[in-house]
Amino acid sequence: MHGKTGQQAQTRGARIAGVVSALPPKVIENDSFVERFGDGVAEVTKMTGVKSRHVAEDGVATSDLCFAAGQRLLEGLGWEPESVDGIIFISQSPDYPLPATACLLQQRFGMRTTTVAFDVNLGCSAYPYGLWLAMSLIQTGALNRVLIAVGDINTRANDPLDRSVAMLFGDCGAVTALEAGDENDVAHFLLGTDGRGGDNLIVPASRHRDRTGDERFAGRNLDMVYMDGAEIFNFTLKAVPALVRETIELAGVPQEDYASFLFHQANTFMLNHLAKKAKLPKDKVPINMDRYGNTSSATIPLVMTTDVADLLKSGRQRIAMFGFGVGYSWGSASLEIGPLKVCETVIAS
């Protein structure tokens, strides 16, 4: 079934058991950009809301952050790595073009060679997509326990002189454990795509498609991320409020019964505007990007393990989540989560 804003999907019989986010130890504050951007720092901060971000040191790959998160998660849940049937890695910054990072993580965690492992290339919409995918796999009965590893090392693809990205992004890896539940574990999803926006958020370097002569990227290092912030903002204004409305309708749960609405942490100004437009109470729309920036695929689990961790550990909560951006791709989920045995943020050593 497709609705107005995306493909509608429902899963039954799978639940989130725990989630851990891992941040690299190095923190960069906005002060360090003043020399480069002058007064622009204050202007950009007013818009994005980012005051500091964790940045991976040279040599650290996305799988390192996901490994740190996953180790703590398995330990906290008391799950033996051999008991996990699948791992899905969703990222825009895999360790290598090939092989799949999920395969490397299978070996590193010490999971069985009879484990299902594969990568998915999505960013802002990664988390709702990942939950839908993993919960669907569990619902078929094929898999009982699945890990979703999301994360990005964004900062290495930031042009240091491009203020639209240099001060926005941060690095993070997060792992979520899912397992078979019962018939009360129902989740609703909406998933949509509009590839016309592909060029508005892109790393244009490609061995297969030469964009060197493209006026859009003139004078730029094609290995660095290009973002047309105004176009992305325009897209979210059109797409997200309708996605919020339809998600609430689809799940059939009154808006006031939601404990929290977790948005992809794209930009604080944008999130405040979207929350207001969607008529959501501000205190139920947590924003943590003042401390972590936009961590792409990891933003939603990072909100879970920071601002709403106590809530998710305290009991069963009705949660909605919304991921939207690069692709363009978007996804939403409405489900009950908790009480989570493990829901925490660690610093990857």
Binding site: V44, A230, F233, N234, M270, K276
Partner: protein, 73 residues
């Protein structure tokens, strides 16, 4: 129009009294101002305007004409 002018005054960092159709957007009309104005127009008129059309505007009057054209569209 006052809500719109108040918002524009904040974006352009001028007094509300200074905001009139002939006011030149000038140097403060950068990408952040354009994003803020997209949000302002969405707030006040529930219309989403294209960023490149806003970027082409030179005066407050140009922005108003753009909004009026979108409203009529």
């Amino acid at each position: 129009m006052s809500e719109f002018y108040e918002g524009l005054a904040e974006i352009l960092e001028v007094d509300t009294a200074e905001v009139k159709p002939e006011l030149t957007l000038g140097e403060s009309w950068d990408s952040l101002a354009i994003v803020s104005t997209i949000a302002l127009i969405d707030d006040v008129y529930d219309i989403q305007v294209r960023p490149e059309k806003l970027a082409d505007c030179e005066t407050v009057g140009d922005v108003e004409k753009l909004v009026a054209a979108e409203q009529g569209a």
